[in-house]
Amino acid sequence: MTSSLPSELDRRFRDSATEAALLDAAYDVAESPVGPLLVAATERGLCRISFDPDPELELDRLAALAGPRVLRSPSALSRARRQLDEYFGRRRTAFELDVDTKALPAFQQLVLEELARVPYGETATYGGLAARIGRPRAARAVGGALNRNPIPIVLPCHRVVGSTGRLVGYAGGLDRKRTLLALEGAA
């Protein structure tokens, strides 16, 4: 910015843009025990939680996904941020948030819907999830769909483990998976 904008004026614009429903996607950055999280939503619901603390990369992805009107808007994400804070503070075991997975392939949507049913503090296996969606031989494909989960934590792919109970891959890194499971008392 070549000259400075009063922060009050900046906040007012971000709030008005949100209230006027003029945004394709709104985002904010939240601190958490697993590092800074970029949290984004469309008007349909939460569409992205990213462990990448640099919003620049994520902005382009969001614009490609939802449209070019992507703006940081703390007011648009306040509900999601509050629930995440409660989750990390062990005061919440289930999220009450709409999610927007409309842009994802049908198979992945199916997997994520089933994933959302795995309860807090419990784990499921890839094969188990595959069986529950009626595709018992598709454990690998389920793994792939989970690896590209756009809304980790809220859609709890950290609760899915290998058939021997081993923690296998997590797009956010195994340390984060371990931290989340420990937080829930499942590790």
Partner: protein, 153 residues
């Protein structure tokens, strides 16, 4: 290549918000500039999906800001204008420039500030004023002439 694609609005906004607010404050005074700033970027947000490429975004947002200025001039002067004596104390640099272009007709004022304050081309200023490059050049030069006359008077 990068300049041709439309950037996410956040990037466009953070690149230009400060500068556009500075321009509005020069032309309107700080109080009215705050409302004009909101209106400018809300209009930009409404028009953003219809953009075909990401070139000339700076000129584009100055065009919108100038139209907001001219629209606000067509309406009766808001009461705020009279109640803002404090702004001159807060921002002496703006006050000085404001004093110079103050009293110019709105079109000339916008043309002078866009040309000499923000280095916009006459073509872009013509767009901003809803007229032509030639008319923009004339508005700026007649504004400058008026300022000279005033300073020698």
């Amino acid at each position: 290549m990068a300049s041709m694609t439309i950037p996410p609005f956040e990037r466009f906004y953070s690149d230009h918000a400060g500068e556009v607010f500075g321009y509005l404050a020069k032309v309107l005074g700080r109080g009215p500039a705050e409302d004009a700033f909101q209106e400018t970027f809300l209009r930009a947000l409404r028009g953003y999906p219809a953009l075909e490429h990401g070139r000339h975004l700076r000129a584009w947002v100055f065009t919108i800001a100038t139209r907001v200025v001219l629209d606000s001039r067509r309406r009766p002067e808001p009461a705020l204008l009279d109640g803002e004596p404090a702004t001159t104390d807060e921002r002496p640099a703006y006050a000085e420039l404001e004093h110079l272009v103050d009293g110019l007709p709105p079109t000339e004022r916008a043309a002078v500030v866009l040309r000499y304050g923000y280095d916009l081309s006459y073509e872009a200023i013509g767009d901003a004023l809803g007229s032509t490059e030639v008319a923009a050049r004339q508005a700026a030069s007649s504004g400058v002439r008026r300022l000279r006359e005033r300073s020698t008077a």
